[in-house]
Symmetry: C3
């Protein structure tokens, strides 16, 4: 099990959520964050001055089975990208255990719904 | 040291906090999150249609010593459970180091108050 | 790569951000959290009764290269400290991979800007 944290433009949230659903990733949590990046000094990129300090960001936290890491990252990278400074970041870390509170299920089983997915 | 992240129903917060205190877990952080789960497709469970998209969630982040992991998880699982779709999840991951800013203490020592707990 | 999570007094945010910038740490995310600490029972420290339940906290999440962990922690510990009960905590954990969405860069490269830093 892995945790995928993505910090994306708030304006890209719906596209990312759609792309994740298409990839079969149905569960995640999200909240608003603010970011300090190349925000304090304005930054010039291809002749344009960027001040990213005011970009609103959304943090997504998605716990997935190992076999779903790659497609989750690809879905986010595809849908969150504009190509302009400030598109955000994706971070991967390990998760040692997971429980579904309602049933007490744990491990991979707690991360998908039986009958709905292989 | 481990991090326990729990995503619970907002309405269950007080019960969970009480149960944690009774288990001797006195420190944690929390904030509001929203979740995408079986939210996009309504889901039928025991004849009832659930749309969990509107359930407000609270994220709890609790860093505990290894010896306290089990009782923390049990306290959350007990208090956060309604038995209906959407009760939430608990995730465990590793923490490599911890510091108490006021004193500079680190390691297990930074996670409890001397004299108050063994 | 490591993740440094710091829970600090909201009133200390600007000082911490400045100290991080001086240490060369230019990227991080942050959001408001609330904390349960020695908050439920008031706590007496050097003769003063502290009720930390009402202290507003900010969570900082900073992913850095291994070589920058120490200076990041030191910057936070220095700037966030008042010496009074409730200054907060710093936690370190491992990050397995990082991606910059705009460019697809990954690994250490995704964490700094070429030409700006060694
Ligand atoms: N190392 C980091 N740790 C934590 N959060 C980060 C980190 N880097 C970026 N972020 C978060 O992501 C947001 C967007 O970052 P941003 O896309 O500007 O990254 P970048 O590396 O500067 O890429 P770009 O060159 O495309 O701007 C930041 O405002 C911050 O919230
Ligand atoms: N894999 C996951 N990664 C991140 N957050 C998740 C994940 N699964 C669930 N969550 C969060 O927990 C909330 C509640 O999930 P929920 O209880 O519906 O899980 P579930 O597995 O669908 O269990 P149930 O079958 O009881 O509904 C979601 O809205 C989301 O915020
Ligand atoms: N173990 C923990 N897990 C998660 N969050 C924590 C933990 N300990 C503290 N926090 C967060 O940090 C905030 C501040 O904690 P606080 O500074 O009171 O820690 P402390 O160990 O009690 O130190 P002090 O003795 O200086 O008060 C808490 O309100 C909570 O949000
Ligand atoms: Mg940037
Ligand atoms: Mg559900
Ligand atoms: Mg305290």
């Amino acid at each position: 099990m892995k945790k995928i944290e993505a910090i994306i433009r708030k304006t890209k949230f719906d596209e990312v959520a759609d792309e994740l659903r298409e990839a079969g990733i149905e569960f995640f949590s999200f909240w608003d964050v603010r970011g300090v990046g190349q925000t304090r000094q304005e930054r010039i990129y291809r002749g344009v001055v960027y001040d990213t300090s005011t970009i609103e960001r959304t943090m997504l936290s998605i716990i997935v089975r190992d076999k779903n890491v790659e497609k989750t990252v690809l879905a986010i990278m595809k849908a969150a990208r504009t190509g302009e400074i400030g598109d955000g970041k994706v971070f991967i870390s390990g998760i040692e255990e997971s429980y579904r509170i309602r049933t007490g299920e744990y491990g991979d089983e707690s991360l998908f719904i039986k009958g709905k997915e292989e």
